[in-house]
């Protein structure tokens, strides 16, 4: 909105609605409904630093067993509580069993020894670096998902970028509008009589922080109420807990054809310094929730999975060697998953750096062979069709050979 128009509204003290003018954000909302079926990327952040070495296990690397006497998962064999063999070298933790059929179907890819190249072992800094997409440079003001929304003007839908979290995550911070929404059904004003007044207050306030949040909020609410009867319910039962609930919301938004391009959610509880467990235990429970959530999400999407690529990330991996408390401390490289119809799955990508003492990063952690930005760039470039990747990851030059993750 330009300044004279705003000061006009201010000086009259009346909002658009009272004047009968169609406010810009409602025009945008009306357009957005015509978006139709589009491609979407779903980003899952595993906060707390997942132990990638115990999620996708290099069971043929003998050093793995030597480094982890009490938390290693036993080699593949018949019976429960064993590594699930993928390719004779790597295998899934048994709690990730729900992902095996998706992998076999070719819709799940794994990228090992991947992550952020910065050496910080601070949760906060490492998460921040991944979310702003410039490891080592703290001054970057916006998140890389927001830069995508700015770079690629696909539609005016308020649902282009949605975080199913309470807080707007750093990865979505920036000048493009991004929505947070924890529940489609509860995304409404409880006092309808105040709706118009509040809409006017929040969409015209000179307080830019609230105007920004408010415009998007009211545009999204308006549209959601119109389309609500047509939003399908979940076709599958999700696991209990916040993660399952979030994925259920994302699947519904995708199926509602609201113009969603990027969805984000998170799953916590990976900071396993103590009693991490092996085939069973604390981390196995987290993996189970992750895998069940992802597999139900995949089934729930049905044929819409052909339009969706989901990727997972975590701030860093954990020490190759278990610590003194049957847990692991903050480490370096990790493992990432990519799931969806367009993914060339059924394969573990990335060069395995090994676990021998002389190749461990700083003598203690898994070394990094794939920058997380390589993975994200391929999804953004090949799947979402954003060609100029320098706008998304400034200063990042992906290694010449791409992974070829996306068909």
């Amino acid at each position: 909105m330009n300044l004279s128009r705003r000061s006009f509204l201010k000086s009259t003290g009346l909002g658009f609605l009272a004047l009968g003018l169609p406010p810009a954000f409602l025009v945008r909302a009306a357009k957005a409904q015509q978006v139709g079926k589009g491609k979407a990327m779903v980003v899952i952040f595993q906060r707390g630093a997942m132990d990638g070495l115990n999620a996708v296990i290099p069971f043929k690397d003998r050093a793995y067993y030597a480094l982890r006497p009490s938390i290693a998962v036993e080699e593949p064999a018949s019976g429960d509580d064993r590594v699930i063999d993928l390719d004779g070298f790597y295998g899934l933790h048994p709690a990730l069993a729900p992902l095996k059929s998706i992998y076999d179907k070719g819709h799940l890819a794994i990228i090992h020894a991947a992550g952020s190249p910065d050496n910080t072992r601070s949760h906060f800094d490492a998460q921040d670096y991944i979310e702003i997409g410039t490891p080592g440079i703290k001054s970057t003001p916006d998140g890389w998902l927001n830069r995508y929304l700015n770079a690629k003007k696909t539609s005016e839908s308020p649902f282009r970028g949605v975080a199913v979290t309470a807080q707007l995550p750093r990865i979505f911070a920036g000048s493009a509008p991004a929505l947070t929404l924890s529940s489609i059904d509860e995304f409404r004003l409880r006092n309808e009589a105040m709706a118009k007044t509040l809409q006017r207050l929040y969409t015209t306030t000179s307080d830019s922080l609230f105007r920004f949040g408010g415009q998007n909020l009211f545009a999204a609410m308006t549209e959601l109420r119109q389309i609500e009867p047509r939003i399908p319910a979940s076709a599958e039962r999700y696991p209990n807990g916040r993660f399952g609930t979030s994925l259920a919301q994302i699947a519904r938004l995708i199926k509602a054809d609201l113009g969603l391009e990027i969805a984000f959610t998170e799953i916590q509880g990976w900071d396993t310094h103590v009693n991490q467990g092996g085939a069973q235990g604390q981390m196995a429970n987290r993996l189970k929730e992750l895998a069940e959530g992802l597999s139900v999400f995949y089934r729930d999407l049905g044929d819409r999975a052909d339009d969706v690529v989901l990727i997972t990330m975590s701030e860093f991996g954990r020490t190759a060697r278990e610590n003194g408390n049957r847990g692991t401390d903050h480490g370096h490289a990790n493992v990432m998953f990519a799931m969806g119809g367009p993914v060339r799955g059924g394969k573990v990508y990335g060069r395995w750096p090994g676990l021998a003492p002389e190749v461990l990063y700083e003598g203690r952690d898994l070394s990094l062979t794939t920058d997380f930005r390589t993975v994200c760039s391929e999804v953004i470039g090949r799947h979402l069709g954003q060609k100029d990747l320098n706008k998304i990851f400034p200063g990042f030059r992906a290694s010449p050979q791409t992974l070829g993750l996306i068909a």
Binding site: S122, M194, L201, Y202, L209
Partner: protein, 474 residues
């Protein structure tokens, strides 16, 4: 925008930062005493009678119990099942398990924020408990957080930094949350004798967060090597009776007795428990700590991105007073940066600040209320339940997502319509809308808000003020 604040705005600004929201009574009191005398009083909370909140808190029985008593009276659901042989219902789990303890803690913090006369003390208790965050739902912390809040944080909320630092370092709740209670020297006596014991090696968790989050700050000048050396110093700082009457003790058999070097400072071999104390002393006096604490305080009290000049002043005051919190606070409130028009309404209220300020401004009568606590959760600040050691962020952009704004608007409507069980607003106590608006932003409501108020009838106008953008700020 450089018109100096008028007297009324100065008082509202001061109360916005030193309390959980202005009330008519407090405005009158500051008018009567003057800001300086009022601040003196607030900085000596033991001299302020506080019977109203004490009466309310008396109903919360877990607040006075020791950790051992809490474990006994509110056992984990599994143990309760073994004792009674019955599957507990949801309600029983809520009322008889450790979740009840956390509910009472949350309730107490909210009641104190709303009713305590010692507002600045409560603000600082909130600040330190966020700075030294623990997660009340992690394992044994379900029983340890009550003592952490009561015996570790609150006694030092207006004390000296080094005392609250040491109190947290030796609190069972922090030792458990950041795993130090299990950290052992690999070459310690126990480590050599029983390598299969679950305490046979270092755990870096506390050492790292101690420097990154509690003292130096992430760019404060420490290395991975320092993290390991500090972890070695703290081996043996552990918990006696972790599942009962838990208390701190030093266990020499798991202590790494060798020499260490921390931040270039040599700590000779054989120091025992003194190693950890030396590290705390080193960190408390370190210039990076003064700077980091100054930054966090200035961010809380002045603005999200405080001017370098105020950070320097506060850091200097911290150093000169050896971390004396009241001295540091006087420096902040007396500074031109604090009293500048740029600082007025510069902060977005965190959810507790928002909810408490609405309850205070409307004079709501608050009882035990699960619904109010649930609202805080939906707004993103479930009390005592920030999982990461960073605690809750203190910048506006973290609290203004669409979902959070919507929840705040719904809260305002529910509050004034008396749809929140456990809270009651009597319109006749709220007074007229103009005087309510003067508690929010005297002479500073936007024309849109003013005209919207003029068009709105009765109680809806009260709800509108609570929901307006201006009331989201302090």
């Amino acid at each position: 925008m450089s018109v100096p604040l008028n007297q009324e705005q100065k008082i509202i600004h001061f109360l916005n930062r030193t309390s959980f929201g202005p009330t008519r009574e407090e405005v009158q009191k500051v008018n009567r005493l003057g800001i300086r005398a009022y601040l003196d009083e607030q900085l000596s909370p033991e001299r302020i009678p506080d019977s109203l909140v004490e009466e309310k808190l008396a109903q919360l029985k877990t607040m006075r119990l020791s950790t051992g008593e809490l474990v006994e009276l509110y056992p984990p659901p599994k143990v309760a099942r073994q004792q009674t042989g019955q599957q507990p219902t949801m309600l029983q789990q809520q009322m008889q398990g450790p979740r009840f303890i956390i509910l009472e803690l949350q309730q107490a913090r909210l009641l104190r924020a709303v009713y305590s006369q010692r507002q600045l003390y409560e603000v600082m208790a909130d600040f330190w408990s966020n700075h030294f965050n623990i997660f009340a739902a992690k394992g044994a912390d379900r029983w340890l957080t009550t003592a952490y809040d009561r015996d570790t944080i609150r006694p030092h909320a207006l004390g000296r930094f080094k005392d609250v630092l040491r109190a947290t370092a030796q609190s069972p709740a922090m030792l458990f949350y950041l795993d130090n209670w299990l950290s052992a020297g690999p070459n310690s006596i126990a480590g050599r004798l029983a390598p299969n014991n679950r305490r046979h090696g270092l755990n870096e968790n506390y050492a790292r967060e101690l420097m990154e989050l509690h003292t130096l700050g992430v760019d404060g000048g420490y290395t991975q090597k320092d993290v390991q050396e500090v972890a070695r110093c703290f081996t043996g700082w552990t918990i006696r009776r972790p599942q009962g009457e838990a208390e701190f003790y030093f266990e020499p058999r798991i202590h790494d007795a060798g020499e260490k070097t921390v931040l270039g400072h040599r700590i000779p071999a054989g120091g025992g428990m003194d190693d950890g104390l030396q590290v705390l002393d080193l960190l408390a006096r370190h210039p990076s700590t003064a700077h980091f604490i100054a930054l966090k305080l200035a961010r809380r009290f002045v603005s999200d991105d405080p001017p370098q000049s105020i950070i320097n002043k506060v850091a200097e005051s911290f150093r000169q007073s050896d971390g004396d919190i009241p001295t540091v606070l006087r420096t902040i409130f007396g500074s031109p940066e604090f009293n500048s028009p740029e600082a007025f309404q510069a902060k977005v209220k965190m959810p507790l600040e928002y909810v408490a300020s609405a309850l205070r401004a409307t004079g709501a009568e608050v009882q035990m209320s699960h619904q109010l606590l649930r609202y805080l959760g939906r707004m993103g600040e479930p009390l005592f339940l920030a999982q990461p050691p960073t605690g809750y962020p203190d910048v506006g952009s973290s609290w203004t997502s669409s979902d959070m704004l919507l929840t705040r608007m719904n809260f305002a409507a529910d509050l004034v319509a008396n749809r929140i069980p456990g809270s009651r607003v009597r319109l006749e106590d709220v007074g007229d809308r103009d005087s309510l608006a003067r508690l929010v932003a005297p002479d500073a409501l936007s024309p849109t808000t003013r005209s919207a108020l003029a068009e709105t009838e009765g109680s809806q106008a009260i709800a509108l003020i609570m929901a307006a953008p201006e009331f989201q700020r302090r």
